[in-house]
Symmetry: C4
Subunit: 225 residues, 4 copies
């Protein structure tokens, strides 16, 4: 099988947001966020909710592999346009992505399996229990909605579940209790980050990843943040 | 010598699986799995068993460098199509790749020299002896055949040998004793990972690499998994 | 939105320094210096002072996004050519970049949020206070203006401020007290590095990043530099 | 200045080994071996000794920037073909590269400033004094001339000097005392690695970098090799 990353120009033109999803997934793969088929992204545009499929190699997604779901239908996934490949299924993250759309009117949601999220969660919730990630005095906090660099950043950590969809209620509950932060960390698993649009979701995700890593690295130096 | 990574379109078209092997080796080089000529990959298709050559720079393989061996002939390497370059030899991993084909009917096998495999093996088998790598409660376990995230993952570690071919029997023995996992770690050396097809082999290899790294990083934080 | 990194050939030809800024930002993103919209660069040429915009994804800048400011006007930012996109604002680093132009006649200034700058500053100024980063006996020191490898490198660390522009006076003061080094570290934030031209600014920035990392890594080995 | 990495096809065709040097330098930059203008490479072919220039950004070298020196003239650098840019100077490493050509009839020599070489040297020679790097039982040793994976690898470490050319005699002396290894580590500086041809030099350099890193990482785990 030759390199399928090359997007058919026809598909990329007709489905530009799907093409953006494919491009961002390649970038996220390079950042270590979406290897081993984990992680994903969903972006809303005027046509609806675009979502990466489940269980595929994220760096090899083509625009025609992306689902288009109905916008505003948050109790189920209503497919408007299915991928050309009938074997593809909707991302397992779909109910979790929908939490961000439904509760925060997010324009995009990113799910990252970055190892820094897992290690930072371990520091703050050693038994994988519910908890909080905390840090302060880091400039990169400024890239987060409503945060100054001397504020204390608090991000909820929720326990993982056997199946991803089972996180829906605990994630929603954490989002309700922490209305000022656009992320939820899942212990042993990763992080969900959303934003007003795909740019905010991505740039906030980059800031969270940096901050999670900084906390881990500082702890390793014997100088916890 | 100019950049030989560019694949002749003719060769890539006639030997698509060989072109895939070349492409994946470049990706694995970027991941740190196949530097210094170590590591490799073998993929089966309808024409037979494709295998990367031995002792070459993996990120510079061209489709015409890949061997095609007879499928189903597991006691020896029977060459169906040799590379155009007569100096190339079959991968030293060939008997080990054949273990996965023969015993598990794998569609593809990857051999990685990732430093995380070496460090994790050192944690669990400090003297390089036979042992087991263990972890649990990590979401990335879900990318492995038959594993849930709260299960305990156990991967056999076998001692290294002076020559790679000498690992054949101990690898086969470990595979027989651990039928539920699609990998064997070789102490001080790396890991062999296989799967039903090249996609499963690759995505499982990515999950194993992540888990091996997580174990090492967590140990460094004073919070072993 | 498709990949906007491809620069319109027309814009790249008319604004070559702006095109260089876009190219370098992509490279710096890969180095971990400018993620989450942090960091930036400014380069002077015969037309004036080119500066990356504020709060954008640095790896996706196009030449037409870059500001051209009047050279020699250091008390304010006088726009000579604005980006085609009216929503873009001048980099928040502008007064800090101007410190280097004004006080050192620098040809270019780079602002990096490299995690190594933050961790090294933490080692030397654990409470984020004013301090000094010190190291010696590293060959990479030779890449810094006026430094031999056995000299002692001293780089000022200044405390961070709530807003980037508020660093202007403390940065200028540190530059006045440390005339032999072309960098200032901002605790919890990053580093500003300048040079006679963009090549010197970049290569010195690479040396500083290496040295900051070496100090952190050596400390972690129990063998502080 | 636009991206000068693109090599003029005319120059690349006329000077293929110079084009190879440019390509490898870009690859080495990505590996962290040649940032901040440090490091370099020299390759011999039928026309003579090709050598990267001094003090330039290694990832931006063009084939026309590479020097061609006379082969077999080891007491001085005799320029056969100078770069088109008259400001370029011969690599500071030239006498050290010549040690490998003169004493070992190497086909190519690589100088890397990899941080792993600096950290590993620190472990074994904490005061930067002469010493030895040692490791054993690592598969990647097999990529080194004459080494098995259970042998003990010994690499000489020599103290750094104020100027690179001053290393010539101590490097030659170390090479004479350690005839079975194709590398010399310079404390606080980096490593020189050579080989029969550029492929051997590169693949050995990759193995050494891996082994140096493994030693550092294992030490950090409390399990020194």
């Amino acid at each position: 099988m030759l390199d399928s990353v090359v997007q058919s120009s026809e598909s990329a033109t007709e489905r530009p947001t799907a093409a953006l999803i494919a491009e961002l997934c390649r970038q996220f793969y390079g950042l270590g966020w979406v290897s081993g088929t984990g992680g994903g992204i969903s972006i809303r545009d005027e046509r609806g909710v675009w979502m990466a499929p489940s269980g595929v190699q994220k760096e090899r997604i083509a625009p025609e592999d992306v689902f288009l779901l109905a916008d505003g239908v948050w109790d189920r996934a209503e497919v408007v346009e299915a991928p050309t490949n009938p074997k593809l299924r909707i991302s397992e993250c779909q109910p979790l992505f929908f939490n961000a759309f439904r509760m925060r009117d997010a324009g995009a949601v990113i799910h990252s399996h970055s190892i820094w999220a897992v290690l930072a969660a371990r520091l703050f919730s050693p038994a994988g229990e519910a908890g909080e990630f905390r840090c302060r005095n880091l400039e990169m906090q400024k890239g987060l909605r409503g945060m100054g660099c001397f504020d204390e950043l608090v991000v909820p950590i929720i326990p993982n579940t056997a199946r991803e969809a089972q996180l829906r209620d605990s994630m929603a509950e954490a989002m309700a209790r922490y209305p000022d932060v656009d992320a939820v960390i899942v212990a042993g698993h990763g992080i969900y980050v959303w934003g007003h649009d795909w740019v905010k979701a991505k740039t906030q995700a980059e800031c969270f990843d940096y901050l999670l890593r900084a906390a881990v690295e500082a702890h390793r130096l014997g100088l916890p943040l």
